[in-house]
């Protein structure tokens, strides 16, 4: 089932033609309407007219989150203020906040892409969808909201918090689809279970999640639904950049609107399919705040094979981490989130773990410390040795390098709010 069959199943050649046409237009548009980009392009010595092939994109300079911060609030605008109909903001966890502005057409395009996303996840006009998102400032709530309305579903903007009421709404209004952060979905299922409510008995059948690494199986089992991963970021629009289809073998990037590149985060070089790197997007149709080669710091890879769903848009693998968190161990790029993904597959392993990188006899050593609780230790060391073997095997196959699992007493790994503290790098120099 497609929302826009023609756009979603466009032939490769036709898609590339469209991309090139739009790319040339947007670069020209940026050059003419954005002071920021005019000076940036001049500095790089690129004139819009010189873009002849899609590969020429690599000649353009990157845009970073730092650029957005430095030009806060309106320095990145490419339209007069009066054309702006909405402004979202992201809280600056480090320093200044950033904003994203939309024209009327931007909002409409966004809704259209979200309609594609929701249809991919099986949402139709017959569905009732509960959107458990913080609507304030953030893009998640309204992004899904507009898309779901466009699809024609009944939308419940339930916001965040008040779990009791969320559950009541879900049950009484016979909600069939919902979207929230994965961690809240898991929390809500737990909350219900503690009160003797089985969310698996509700009318739910589909869910869309994203924004953080999550374990599909846990959510699907708790709710008895099919769960889909989606990807987006507020700088590009919000959710609506990429989503899983029924095959759930990667996320289709709506590349008629977002031109994707995968680069080596160190060298900036463009990588090929199957190579792990940082996602870089060029917005092809945005009016208010177009972005050229925007570095997302999100790590994934391009899957360049036809998908069984019939959509021709390229896919990316589920996110592997953030380039800021990347560790280079024995020359291999390792992301803490990859370790987390592996640990999530062992539900008995407590959520408290720590990644320690050290150097032993000039050799990098990766250790994963796991706290021993009664869920993994019932008295016999064999249980631990078996778990250690299984974890190490799985880590090796996912990371491509050996990791050593060590067991520590409960409560010995420092508790902190930030996930950054999950990683300790003891290497010098």
């Amino acid at each position: 089932m497609y929302w826009d069959r023609k756009a979603e199943t466009i032939q490769q050649e036709e898609l590339e033609e469209l991309q090139l046409r739009r790319l040339r237009a947007i670069v020209d548009y940026c050059y003419r309407n954005s002071r920021f980009y005019r000076s940036k392009l001049k500095e790089a010595g690129v004139h819009p007219g010189e873009l002849r092939r899609l590969e020429d994109l690599a000649r353009l300079p990157f845009t970073t989150k730092e650029d957005l911060r430095e030009n806060y609030p309106f320095g990145m605008l490419a339209v007069p203020r009066e054309e702006v109909v909405r402004i979202h903001a992201s809280s600056g966890t480090t320093g200044k906040p950033t904003i994203v502005a939309y024209t009327k057409k931007d909002i409409s395009t966004w809704a259209e892409l979200m309609a594609r996303v929701l249809t991919c996840a099986g949402v139709t006009k017959r569905d009732t969808i509960q959107l458990i998102y913080n609507y304030a400032f953030f893009t998640g709530g309204l992004g899904f909201h507009y898309g779901a309305e466009r699809v024609g579903a009944a939308v419940i903007p339930s916001g965040v918090g008040n779990s009791e009421r969320q559950l009541l709404t879900m049950r009484d209004l016979e909600v069939t689809a919902f979207s929230s952060t994965p961690s809240y979905a898991l929390y809500l299922a737990e909350f219900a279970r503690e009160r003797g409510i089985d969310v698996g008995e509700f009318s739910l059948r589909t869910g869309i999640f994203g924004a953080e690494p999550w374990m599909r199986q846990r959510i699907e089992e708790a709710y008895g639904i099919k769960a889909y991963d989606n990807y987006g970021l507020s700088e590009l629009c919000g959710p609506g950049v990429a989503v899983e289809c029924d095959a759930r073998q990667g996320l289709h990037v709506w590349s008629d609107h977002f031109l994707l590149e995968v680069i080596d985060p160190e060298s900036g070089e463009v990588l090929g399919p199957g190579e792990k790197g940082e996602l870089v997007f060029t917005t092809l149709t945005k009016e208010a705040m177009p972005l050229l080669r925007y570095r997302t710091r999100d790590i994934s890879m391009l899957i360049d094979e036809p998908c069984e769903c019939g959509r021709t848009h390229p896919r990316i693998a589920r996110l592997m981490g953030r380039s800021d968190d990347m560790l280079i161990i024995r020359g291999v790029n390792v992301f803490p989130s990859q370790v987390e993904h592996v640990l999530l597959q062992f539900p008995e392993v407590a959520e408290h773990y720590q990644i320690v990188v050290d150097r032993r006899r000039s050799m990098d050593v990766l250790r994963v410390k796991v706290e021993v609780t009664e869920r993994i230790f019932r008295g016999e060391p064999e249980e631990l040795l078996r778990l250690k073997r299984e974890l190490e095997e799985k880590l090796r196959s996912v990371l491509g390098i050996r990791a050593e699992v060590t067991f520590v007493e409960p409560g010995t790994i420092p508790r902190s709010r930030g996930k950054a503290q999950r990683v300790v790098d003891l290497r010098k120099g």
Partner: protein, 143 residues
């Protein structure tokens, strides 16, 4: 007839054993036997105590991860070769001894072998057929 063994997970660093025994001592729990399994960076302290569930509670409260599992307390005669007799009786019957450790009760001058086996029921049958006595938790306490 089985007795309960308390197993404590510890990191392999100084002072863990003394901490465990101190906690038990302060709670008035008597240790009958103790053995340590060392497995690289961690270890398991195995204890036979007079009050296993209280022992688990006080240790858990102190932040340790503790398991309680079932083992056999086998009375060893004082004639030579009694350990070999136990081992071969079990071995012949296809019962595996995962690990074992012995202790001598000072008061009654009796030796006891604590053994973890893979088939408790079968081990009980075989040993009783051989006339080897298993001690109950109560008997163990009175030693």
């Amino acid at each position: 007839m089985v007795v309960e063994q308390v197993s404590v997970f510890v990191e392999n660093k100084p002072g863990r054993l003394s901490k465990v025994t101190k906690i038990l001592g302060e709670a008035g729990i008597n240790i009958r036997a103790l053995s340590i399994a060392e497995l690289g960076e961690f270890g398991v302290i195995r204890l036979i105590v007079d009050k296993p569930h209280e022992a688990k509670a006080v240790l858990t409260n102190s932040g340790f991860t503790v398991g309680v599992n079932r083992v056999l307390a086998i009375e060893m005669g004082d004639e030579p070769g009694s350990l070999a007799r136990i081992a071969s009786a079990l071995g012949d019957a296809g019962v595996n001894i995962d690990y074992a450790y012995a202790f001598v009760a000072r008061a009654k001058e009796r030796a006891v072998l604590i053994a973890r086996v893979d088939d408790i029921k079968r081990a009980e049958e075989v040993l009783s057929r051989e006339g080897i006595r298993l001690l109950s938790a109560e008997e163990l306490q009175s030693l």
